[in-house]
Structures are given as C-alpha cells and as structure tokens.
C-alpha cells in the first residue's frame, strides 16, 4: 500500500472516531435535555438510547442502496450529522414551550441522527474494502468507533455539561463534525465531483454554528419568552420567586413562577369578588389585614370603604411591593393603593408575622398563591387558621382565596373543612374570571354576622346584589362528593388533593 493510500485510510478512521464521539454526544444531549424538560430520567434515557440504536440499524440497512460516489456521500452525511446534531439542543429548547409536539421533534432528531450515524460505518467500510484486508478493516473501524464512544461518555458529564452547557456542547460537536467533513472534501477534492458545492455548504454551516455558539445565551432567554403567549416586558428573579410581566395589545399579565396572577382585562372580577362580599357585610370596618396580595389590587378595593383607618399588608417579597409602588403602569392599575397613607406594608413571612401579631382586625384578606407545594400548604393549615381566628375581632370576617372549585373541588372544600375544624363559620362562593376560569373564595367568621352584603360600594364593574346571590350557589360539578381530610401541618392533605386535581386537569 502506498504512503498516500495509508494516509487516506487513517484520515477516514479519524473521521469514524469523530463521528462516533459526536453521535454519542448528540444522544446524551437528547437524553439529558429530555430528562431536564420532561423529568423521569430513567424513561427518557432508555427510550432515547433505544431509538438511537434502532435508527443506526435502519441506517446500516439503507447503506446498501448507496452504490456510487461513496466518498461524496460519506462527506454529505458527515455534514448532515453536523447540521442536525449541532442544532439539536438549541432547537429542542426553543420548541419546548410547544409542549404537544416536543416529543415528536425530540424523537425525530434522535432518529435522523441515528440513521445518519448508522449509514456511515458501512459506507466507510466499503470505501476502504479494497484498500485494507477485511480482518484489519473490521478491527480498525470498530476500534475507533468504540474508542470514540468511550471518550464521549467520559467527557460529556465531566467536562462538557459543567463547562459548556447543553446548547454549546451540541454546537461544538456540530462544528467538529462539519469541520471534519470540510477537511475530507478538501483532502479528497480530486476524487469527488462538485467538491466546491460541498465545501461551500460546509463553510456556511460552520459559520452558522459559530454564530449560534456565541449567542447561545440569548437562545435560552428566547426559550423563556416562548413559554408566555405575549411579549415579556419585565422579568426578575427574587430570592422568593420569578416575577414576569407580559403584555399584548389588550392586556398586561403578571406571572409568579410561571403561574398567572392576574390579567388587567379581568382582574376586577377577581378582586371585587375577593374583597366586597366580606367588607359589605361589616359594619364600619376600621382595621384591615391583607396577607399576600403585594400587587395592591385587593387594597385598591378595600380603600373604597371610607371607614377603613388602617390597612396592614404583609407580603413576603419586597421586590413585589416595590414594583407595585413605583412602576407607572402598575401604580395606575392599583390606584396608588400601596402609596396611600392608610396602608402599611410589611415585607415579612405571613405565618411568623401572624404568630407574633397582637392586633385584632375587622377584616382579613388572605390572598396567597395556590397550595401547590408543601411550603405554601402550611399557609392553609389548621395551625395557620387558628392564628387567623385569634387575629379576628368576634364580629370580624376573613376571606381566603381558595383555588378553583371547578378544577379542584376537593381542594376548595378541604380549605372550607379546615376552616370549620378550628371553629370558624364559613360561607363559600365563586365567580367566573375569564383568565382563571371558575374561581372560589371562602369567608370565615368567629360568629355569623347579621347584615350580609348590606354596604356594597358603587360603582363596581362586576358585583351587585344579584350576582352575589348567584355566587353563593354551587352546582353539583363544584362539590367534593366525599368526606375530606382536614389540612394539618403533619398531613398536608390539601397539597395532595391539589396535586391530584390540578395534575389531572393540566394533563388534558
């Protein structure tokens, strides 16, 4: 064998090595990404490895249909692997918000990469079959293939994921793939037709991937933007939550940790329903406590009662209350309620604040996030409601936002059961808030008041004596139809109901 022939052989074997490394890396990237985004790493990894290996089989099968220009095909495939694999993780991050088709795209990418990688080894063996003895050929090709696999599996967890991240890792190997393709085209330029076209394609790809590699950070943030329907106009992470404001032509929406808190289009429906049934039943309320509700929208409604002398607002996150005290659009939305001299803002933990509280209130508005985890679940427990009861005057009323009685009737009525278990009288009601759906609230009193809804202020956009009556009626599909557990710190029954009901609802 001539020296030149020998050189060509080793160059092609190097290509095998790079392909094997890249192929496995793409597979690992897909598996890791799927575990990140879909959870359940065991399922994700095993299905992806399975699909990948199977696709390699398809590739090997298809290789028999390639009969001419094997070297050119080999290079084309190399470039294609670089293209698909290199952009795979960036693409997957971007399509993730399109939840339904995510799996399809994921497995398609794995399938294509697998088929292409599966094609390459048989093609290469055929390119080399006349140049090397068969036993040498098999031995060399597979040695390089497996060494590549080992290298990939070692550097992926140790080096690549910690230092490059997933998007850059796949781009980096895409660049490597395409680079090898270009070099092969260059090296064998005399043996291939249309070599210029191949080389141009390779260089274009290289440039595209380099640009993506540099700008991968903004791909990540673009991916978050896609999670929301509208433009993200403000986003910040505080020690407690991620606050995101989005805007379209008609409305502004606030999301906390990805959960919609309000839309300007219909928030009045929620806040009127939260505040007025309780307040209109009180005789000249003076001392008011608001727990949560750092957006100041409930306070805006409360300040419609001239008898109110002091509103104490306890919200955990200073970033929230600051935002709603200073940002122009938001201040207009809450009528500068947080800047009102009657309003005192405490950035404190509601549970600990209430535990040390000595003041008695005429009204307490509890506007916490839904009980979606064990931490928030504590704010719906008997222990918390005992403190709430202690902080209410004998003729006072507390009102608690209590999730959707339509989506989560057990959760809703569990809050009611828990309030009753500490000796409070309750009145449950609900209304329709288009952004949320059917929503529920519960009023709780140490002793039943006498003048329900006698002092409604005007003008209101949603509430009037007739809508109020409707709100008190619960149709069958908003009832629990079973005996419910009381939510205590040591059973967190509510979080379990909530997970079960909302989990089922969101699956649809």
């Amino acid at each position: 064998m001539s020296k030149k022939e020998n050189g060509a052989q080793w160059l092609l074997l190097t290509a095998v090595f790079v392909i094997a490394t890249c192929g496995l890396i793409y597979e690992l990237v897909a598996g890791t990404l799927a575990s990140y985004l879909l959870g359940d790493s065991i399922t994700q990894f095993s299905t992806i490895i399975g699909v990948y290996l199977f696709s390699m089989g398809i590739g090997s099968f298809l290789s028999k249909y390639f009969n001419n220009n094997l070297l050119a095909w080999f290079i084309r495939i190399e470039l294609l692997v670089g293209l698909v694999g290199g952009f795979s993780s960036a693409l997957l991050f971007i399509v993730f918000p399109l939840a339904a088709s995510f799996r399809i795209i994921l497995y398609t990418i794995v399938l294509i990469t697998g088929v292409l990688v599966g094609l390459e080894i048989p093609l290469l063996m055929r390119i080399l079959e006349k140049k090397v003895a068969f036993k040498e050929l098999v031995s060399r090709v597979f040695t390089f293939d497996y060494i590549g696999a080992l290298l990939a599996s070692l550097i992926f967890p140790l080096l690549l994921v910690p230092h490059l991240g997933l998007i850059r890792t796949s781009l980096f190997f895409g660049i490597l793939n395409v680079g090898v393709g270009w070099y092969l085209a260059h090296h064998f330029s005399k043996e291939i037709r249309q070599v210029v076209l191949l080389k141009t394609a390779a260089i274009t790809l290289l440039l595209a991937q380099l640009v993506c590699f540099v700008f991968s950070e903004s791909i990540m943030s673009y991916s978050e933007t896609m999670t929301y329907d509208d433009n993200v106009v403000y986003a910040t992470s505080t020690p407690y939550q991620r606050i995101v404001l989005t805007k379209n032509k008609h409305e502004l929406r606030l999301f906390l940790n990805g959960n919609l808190q309000f839309s300007t289009a219909d928030e009045y429906r929620y806040h009127e329903a939260l505040v007025h049934p309780a307040f209109s039943s009180l005789n000249q309320p003076e001392q008011v406590l608001v727990l949560g509700g750092g957006d100041g929208l409930a306070v805006r409604e409360i300040l419609k009662y001239p008898s109110v002398k002091q509103v104490t607002l306890v919200d955990l996150d200073p970033a929230m209350t600051k935002l709603f005290s200073h940002q122009e659009i938001l201040v207009r939305l809450n009528d500068s309620s947080l800047l009102n001299s009657k309003v005192h803002v405490h950035n404190a933990d509601a549970f600990t604040w209430l535990r040390s509280n000595k003041i008695l209130f005429d009204a307490i508005v509890v506007d916490f996030p839904d009980p979606s985890n064990f931490s928030i679940g504590k704010l719906y427990s008997t222990s918390f409601y005992q403190l709430l009861k202690r902080a209410l005057r004998p003729d006072g009323i507390a009102v608690i936002q209590s999730t959707s009685p339509y989506v989560a009737p057990k959760s809703f009525w569990c809050v009611d059961t828990t309030l009753r278990s500490v000796g409070l009288h309750t009145i449950a009601y609900h209304n329709y808030v288009p952004s949320f759906g059917e929503w529920g609230y519960i009023m709780a009193t140490p002793s039943a008041p006498h003048h329900w809804f006698s002092h409604l202020p005007s003008p209101l956009k949603f509430l009037n004596p007739t809508t109020l009556q409707l709100m008190l009626t619960f149709p069958e599909d908003m009832k629990a139809h079973q005996l419910l557990d009381i939510n205590k710190l040591n059973n967190q029954a509510l979080v379990k109901y909530f997970e079960e009901e909302w989990g089922k609802y969101l699956e649809h």
Partner: protein
C-alpha cells in the same frame, strides 16, 4: 496522524479532562471536627491526679448531665432539695441530646426526635404538658399534641432503585414476593404491639423493665434479630435492609448483632395515642432533643458545674468523697456528699469507682457503638425524581442513615439555606477499631465520605455545601446484644452501693431512648429521696 500517537492523544485528553473535572471538585469545604471531649475524658483513663485543693459539702452530687442526670436533678429539685451539684465533662449539659445553633436554625448533635409518648407514662406526659408539647389538661380523655411539634408532612422518603419514594419501608421497584414478606413482618410487629404475657403485662413496654417476663417473649433475647427473621422465613433482602436500618438507627447496632427482643421492642413498644396524633407520629424540633433537654434544665442552672471531670469517688464511713478535675481552672477539687447519682455509662462508672470487678464485667458484657454526626449547612440542592425534601431522607443500601432536615419544622416560606443533620453509626468493624479510625480521620476525609454518599441524590452537593461540622461520639450508646435485657448483668451493675451511691443511665436501661433516660433519672432520684430523709 500515526495510530499510536493518535491513541496516545486520546488517552491524554481523557486524563486531562478528568484532571480538570477533579480540580473543579476540589473546593475546600469549611467546618471542623468536634469530639465529645474525648481528650479530656481519656484523662480519666491515662492521668494520675494530685491531691484536691479545696473541699465543699453537698447533700447530693450527680455525675453526668445527660438526660438521666438532668431528669434526676429535676425530680430532686421539685421535691425541695436545693443542695445539689451536677458535674459534667462538657461545656453544655445534655449528653446525647446535645445541639447547636447558627443563623439558619438550631440543629441536633445527637437524638433528634421522640415518638408520641405511651399514655401510661404519667410522669413523662406531665413533663410534656409542662413544656407545652401536650396542650390539653391531664383530665382530657386523650392528650392533644402541639401541632408545631408533631413532625410536619412530608415526613420520610427513601431513595431506592433510582428514585425517591414516600416512607422508609421499601416499595418502589420491590418485587411482589418481598412486599408480601414486608407485610408479614409488619403484621407480626402489630400483634407483638398488642401482645400481653401470662403475667398480664405488655409483652413490650416502656421503660422496657415494665415488660412481661413471660418466657414466650423473654426467649427472644437469646438470639439476634437476623436469626429471628431467618427462623420466621423472612429472607427478603429489602425487608432485611429495612430492619437493619432501623436497628442501626435506634441502637447503633446491626441486626445481626442486636438481641431479637430489643429489635422487636423497637417496632412493638410504641402505643401512644393523642387526640391529634398516633403511635407512628413523632415529635421533633430544629435542635432535636436538645429542646427537651433545655426544658429539663430550666430550673437547674444553679447546680451546674460544667467542664468537670470526675476522677474518683471514695466511700468513707458516713459519706462519699467525689474528686473532680475542674478543666477551666485546671485543678482537682473535692466534694463531700451524702448521696450520689452516677448518671454516666458503666465503662466510666467503673473507672470513677476504681472498681476492677465492675470494669471487668463491663468489658466482658457491654459494647459501646461509635457514631459520627455531621451538620451540613447547604444552599438549595438539586433533586432526583420523587417526593420533595422531607424531614428524614434515607438512601437504600447507604452506610449512613441519611439525613434529617433541621429546618423542616420551620413555618416560613422561601427557605434557601438549610441545616441537614447527617447520621452514621460506625458499625463496619469492631467498636474499638471504628473508634480509632474515626478519631484519626481528618475533616476533609469525613466531608468526602458524606459528599460521596449524598452526591447520588443531590448532584450539585459539592457546590451547594457551605460548611460541614462533624461530631464524633466515641461511645454513643450501649449495644443491646442478646442476653443484655433478660440476663442478670444489668441488675448486677445497677444495684445501689451502700444506699448512698445510685446509678442512672440508658446503658443500664438496655435501650438508649429519651423515655428510658427520663425514668432512669427519676427512679435514682426517688432512691436518693428515701435515703436522704432517713439521714436528715
């Protein structure tokens, strides 16, 4: 490129990459190793002391400020005795209920919970009422427990077969045959819980000396827990892991060493019931049983002499002379006492009394298991699939017992920093070997052991940990080996000497739990009262 150089460069790249990766991991984690004053304690064994420089007179001296000693002192104080001295080697009283505190929360250095008390333990439930754990009157049909002290949900999780599951009894990925055996075992434990002996007593009671002497149950003390499981045909490896976990957790003793009677006692002696809690519930505080110890200590501060190593107790005609080394002043002092309670383990008691026979008996019959307890201060940890961070977090087949979240009973939202208390009884080799190895291990080596263990479940732990402090308990608790409970050794060692010197410690009770210590102290104090009134 030549083939050889090519392969060399691959090998090189791999070495370089793993080197870079290991550099990345070599972040030095702060903290220190704290012993239970092993150095001072061993002076008792190794040092000759000079003559005492001062002598004082006191009615009662209590040696040892663990839960037994504190309980004894509390009882005496409540009976109107004021002339008491409590001597303890450590800076803080509390023994195995020791605890610490940082800006995040309190955290335990030892025992971290008590189960719901059995309702027949009047003195103990009175104590629980006194410190606000029971909120109802003694007249209530069932005690109401303070909701803030009953362990919050989620209570326990186990990492098994690649993910977390709820509860510690293996379930996820466990074959049906094993599950059936686990159920059989639990059913047997339930019937032991209800069982009574021919003598009408509970088969398994607390304190354990109140248990039935019916031979049907007593004979269980002659074999190990593992042998008993084998006899019952309970061979499931999942079940055996679980039982071994439990005996190591409560007694620092593997199931192939522990007496079957004691192993069963662990499962069958809890019968407490409250209006809002059941026998499987537990009471816990950020600082663990340090919280209870603090309540025991409440009125006892004037009696405390800390950092006092008792070197010798001599019995003279009508009194006892107690010599102790005052570590702070570095001097030997003497107290003449009418009555003394030795609330220390027996291997220490033998030395203090310079009683060769006792030392020999203890050496022959008793083993004390060493433990390592680490408090880990950490930022948020990444999680595997399954239930979220719970109070007790255990890894299947780990040499450790997992960790407890000291901030679990915190009611606040948005906790990002936590104290995790990591427990590891050192049971791989003999106690002597383990103790020696433990004292030689450096802080960095302990940290590596912990990180290697927990990295399986929290991939980012190396970066998240801010500090690890390690406590070595050389002699944490006596192992309840076969024959210990129903043999004669405990009685022999526990017998008062000349009606002046009494013993109170959980190694004599046979079971290192809070209730036993509480009653050890109480009954020693009652003996002291009898003899004091006789002499006064």
């Amino acid at each position: 490129m030549q083939r050889r150089s090519f392969i060399q460069s691959i090998a090189g790249l791999t070495v370089v990459s793993s080197f870079i990766a290991s550099c990345h991991r070599q972040r030095v984690i702060g903290g220190s190793v704290i012993g239970a004053s092993a150095h001072t304690g061993h002076l008792l064994r190794d040092k000759k002391f000079a003559a005492p420089v001062s002598t004082t007179e006191h009615a009662v001296v209590i040696v040892g400020g663990g839960v037994s000693g504190l309980s004894a002192a509390r009882h005496l104080h409540r009976q109107g005795i004021r002339d008491i001295v409590i001597l303890d080697l450590e800076k803080e009283m509390g023994g195995n209920a020791a605890c610490g505190k940082n800006d995040i929360s309190g955290y335990p250095w030892g025992a971290h919970y008590v189960p719901i008390p059995n309702n027949d333990l009047t003195e103990y439930t009175d104590f629980m009422r006194e410190c606000g754990v029971i909120t109802s009157d003694a007249s209530a049909p069932l005690p109401a427990y303070n909701d803030y002290y009953i362990c919050f949900d989620p209570e326990e999780r186990l990492y098994i077969n690649g993910q977390w599951q709820e509860g510690l009894i293996p379930q996820f990925g466990v074959p049906a045959g094993d599950k059936a055996q686990i159920q059989q075992f639990l059913d047997k434990m339930q019937s032991f819980r209800l069982a009574k002996g021919q003598d009408g007593k509970d088969a398994f009671a607390i304190p354990l000396d109140n248990s039935s002497k019916d031979p049907a149950f007593v004979q269980l003390d002659s074999l190990t827990m593992k042998q008993w499981l084998q006899q019952q045909g309970l061979t499931s490896s999942y079940l055996q892991w679980y039982v071994n976990y439990c005996t190591r957790d409560d007694f620092g003793t593997p199931y192939d060493e522990i007496s079957a009677w004691v192993g069963i006692h662990y499962f069958a002696s809890r019968k407490g019931k409250g209006s809002n809690a059941d026998h499987h519930d537990v009471l816990t505080w950020p600082e663990g049983n340090g919280w209870l110890a603090a309540h025991l200590k409440k009125e006892l501060q004037p009696y405390f002499h800390n950092q006092a190593l008792v070197t010798r107790i001599l019995q003279e005609n009508d009194r006892l002379t107690v010599d102790y080394f005052d570590v702070k002043e570095s001097r030997l002092k003497r107290i003449n006492a009418q009555q003394c309670i030795l609330a220390v383990p027996q291997f220490v008691a033998g030395r203090i009394l310079q009683d060769e026979a006792r030392i020999q008996r203890v050496h022959q019959h008793m083993q004390y298991s060493p433990w390592m307890v680490a408090n880990i201060r950490t930022k948020e940890l990444t999680e595997r699939t399954g239930p979220p961070l719970s109070w007790d977090n255990v890894l299947y087949n780990s040499p450790s017992l997992g960790y407890v979240d000291a901030t679990h009973q915190d009611i606040r939202q948005g906790i990002h920093l936590r104290n995790l208390t990591y427990y590891r009884p050192l049971t791989d080799h003999t106690p002597v070997e383990e103790r020696k190895a433990a004292l030689e291990r450096t802080h960095a080596e302990w940290v590596k052991l912990i990180v290697d263990d927990l990295e399986k479940v929290h991939a980012n732990i190396t970066d998240a940990i801010e500090e690890v402090n390690v406590m070595i308990w050389g002699h944490a608790m006596a192992k309840p080996l076969p024959g210990m409970i129903h043999g004669t050794i405990r009685q022999e060692l526990a017998a008062s000497v000349n009606n002046r010197l009494h013993f109170a410690h959980t190694d004599l009770a046979g079971n290192s739990i809070f209730e036993e210590a509480f009653y050890q102290g109480l009954s020693a104090a009652k003996k002291v009262m009898t003899h004091l009134s006789r002499t006064i």
